[in-house]
């Protein structure tokens, strides 16, 4: 038999049929939904007189709009409240399990799926959210979809998709101390650009990837969309199985053993061919930070903003427009630049390990007086862990306060907006113009870089 990739194995096992010269009808195992991209799909479905075909394979949580303070009170902003209420009503009408604001397992959709064991190896997973790629960390095919496609999955538990090309990104060797998987992600995107992965599904491989924890793998796969890829995945291994075992929705008993045997087969065969392949050396990666308005515009913390001298035409105009927005000059050093805000959280870096890293760094230090810090756990479970492990005390004595779970300042749909012109070091995923609020200037980085910036009040190297 011809050697095949992990991606091929999972994709091919989910093809119900293929349209000649067209897309495949792909069966979807898990459909996550949230309040922003589902209401029009529900009304479209109901307009056709249909019910959700497989509500038991659907999971809902409101996350994009929710406040991160006083969640026990009604949401003040009318439109946000209406979206959350609409999701609740739609889920009740269609019998979809929902982890609402008052639920003990509430959180960001890409945090709660894995932590509840809903996300499992070999699955196909979709959600009307581009960071669905997060779930690929378990060796599943997970990708973001539009609202029309959400309606397709509601109606048929399937989606029409052309099969993407395959890319493998190998990271070999050992990561230096204080270099995280967020740094790997920003490094790779700075090398292959925000469109380098377009049309492809990425498998991350190599010794540096194998050594990552599940949470670190999720951060990396989460960011795969930022290089333009449909998604990213990592073959499941003992790290994956150990993470899953015993979680609420993970298989139990004899069923676990059966599944485990299947999951162990999920890997790319030797000599399988990828359309595109890159290999990077882990030793070349240092703590990264972005200086521009897309996630590909990143450099090592000791580096400088490119001069742009080699650019011409619209490339140059786009580069200069981006720096103008950020208030930076070509060729400038970033280290030592004063910052105003720090945001720790989001589906990229809102898990317990991220808060442990942050707390360990700031322990015994003090937040810079001019910095406003928003510390936002990805879920209620993460919040609970932070409290149980005594991290709240560490944060409070250093001048930081913990908020409640949600997407928060990552996309600023709630009240957590970075003011115009202010600099924010954010552990989230996008530094687009206005992403964290109109006129906000976002610099993407790891939780450790964010911790160093929060304490010193300027861009700093956490290795010092």
């Amino acid at each position: 038999m011809e050697p095949t990739t992990l991606f091929d194995k999972i994709w091919d096992a989910h093809v119900v049929s293929k349209i000649e010269g067209g897309p495949s009808v792909l069966y979807i195992d898990r459909h996550f939904i949230h309040e922003v991209t589902s209401p029009v799909a529900f009304s479209g479905l109901e307009g056709r007189g249909l019910k959700v075909f497989r509500p038991e394979n659907t999971v809902a949580t409101p996350d994009h709009n929710v406040p991160t303070l006083n969640q026990h009170l009604p949401i003040r902003e009318e439109l946000s409240r209406k979206q959350v209420e609409t999701l609740t009503a739609n889920c009740e009408r269609h019998h979809i399990p929902m982890y609402g604001l008052s639920h003990k397992w509430h959180g960001i959709v890409h945090i709660i799926g894995p932590e509840l064991g809903i996300t499992q190896p070999g699955m196909t997973i979709v959600c009307g959210d581009s960071h669905t790629s997060t779930h690929g960390a378990f060796g599943s095919i997970a990708f973001g979809i539009g609202t029309s496609e959400v309606e397709m999955v509601f109606a048929s538990q399937c989606i029409l998709q052309p099969k993407p090309k395959k890319m493998r990104i190998n990271v070999e060797g050992k990561l230096a101390k204080n270099v995280t998987s967020k740094d790997i992600a920003l490094y790779v995107i700075s090398k292959i650009s925000t469109s380098g992965g377009t049309g492809h599904f990425v498998e991350f491989a190599g010794s540096a990837i194998r050594s990552l924890s599940m949470e670190a793998r999720m951060t990396l796969c989460n960011m795969s969309i930022e290089c333009g890829a449909r998604g990213g995945m990592i073959a499941p291994d003992e790290t994956t199985f150990a993470y899953l075992k015993g979680r609420q929705e993970a298989p139990k008993g004899a069923d676990w053993e059966l599944k485990l045997a299947e999951w162990k087969k999920l890997k790319t065969d030797d000599h399988a061919v990828f359309d595109t392949e890159y290999t990077f050396d882990a030793a070349d990666i240092t703590p990264m930070i972005t200086y521009g308005t897309n996630p590909g515009m990143g450099v090592g913390v000791e580096g400088s903003i490119p001069t742009g001298d080699n650019l011409t035409g619209s490339d140059k105009a786009t580069f200069l427009k981006s720096l103008e927005y950020m208030g930076f000059q070509p060729g400038e050093k970033l280290k030592g630049k004063k910052i105003d805000y720090v945001f720790i959280g989001s589906c990229t870096n809102g898990r317990i390990e991220d808060f442990r890293l942050f707390a360990e760094y700031i322990k015994g230090k003090q937040k810079a007086s001019w910095v406003t810090a928003w510390i936002v756990p990805g879920s209620k479970k993460v919040e609970q862990q932070i409290r149980e492990e005594g991290l709240v005390e560490i944060m409070e004595s250093a001048g930081f306060a913990l908020r409640q779970p949600g997407c928060s300042a990552c996309l600023a749909m709630n009240d957590d907006k970075i003011p115009e012109g202010k600099y924010a070091v954010s552990t989230s995923n996008r530094n687009f113009e206005g992403r964290q609020g109109p006129g906000a200037r976002t610099m993407l980085a790891s939780p450790l870089m964010a911790a160093a910036a929060a304490v010193s009040g300027v861009i700093s190297d956490p290795r010092e």
Partner: protein, 197 residues
């Protein structure tokens, strides 16, 4: 809901020669709070199009009366970032029926096709030619023919043959949407589920 049929469009075009236009620029997140699909065109390119006080920014192309038409021409890697279909809705609701670029982000491309909006991917050279023609003559005409998969720059008499998935082409020509097709597959889908269990 069936989509509008698409055959041929002859129109002037609106130029946006900026690269990597992400969906947060096409429609910022704070305008995604509606629970119905209407009025998104008003907020297309909101933060480029309007000042902080809500007054139109005269520098932005959509506020320049010289430019109009059903074709939006943008720099490479258009539509990157968030999967929000609101981006496709806002471009369509504004009145565009074709978006031309030298490169499109995947999710955005899928979303526009599901809404009767045609993404036309052209070469860098052809795109540059379009921008130059519009600069010389803001009402320069372009002809987009889906049946023949061609886009013609009338002023330069140049033509580009673009790619489109044959299934999606058929859907656009006939105004079919994917859900009609998927519903017709129900028996097969149920058989697939049984086989899996």
């Amino acid at each position: 809901m069936a989509i509008d049929k698409f055959h041929k469009i002859i129109s002037s075009a609106v130029p946006l020669p900026i690269e990597n236009v992400d969906t947060d620029q096409i429609i910022p997140a704070r305008f995604l709070k509606a629970v119905e699909r209407k009025g998104f065109g008003d907020n297309l390119f909101r933060d480029w199009r309007y000042g902080k006080d809500g007054t139109p920014n005269p520098e932005f192309v959509l506020n320049n009366p010289k430019y109009s038409g059903k074709i939006l021409v943008a720099g490479k890697n258009f539509g990157s970032g968030s999967s929000r279909e609101h981006a496709a809705w806002s471009v369509y609701d504004y009145g565009f029926r074709v978006v031309v670029s030298s490169f499109f982000a995947d999710i955005f491309k899928g979303n526009v096709l599901n809404n009767g909006l045609l993404p036309v991917q052209v070469s860098e050279d052809f795109l540059t030619g379009m921008f130059e023609s519009i600069e010389k003559n803001p009402v320069a005409s372009f002809e987009v023919d889906l049946e023949n998969q061609t886009i013609r720059n009338v002023s330069l008499s140049t033509e580009f043959k673009f790619d489109i998935n044959p299934y999606k082409k058929e859907c656009l020509l006939k105004g079919y949407d994917d859900i009609d097709y998927l519903l017709s597959m129900k028996t097969k889908i149920e058989a697939f589920e049984l086989n899996e269990k």
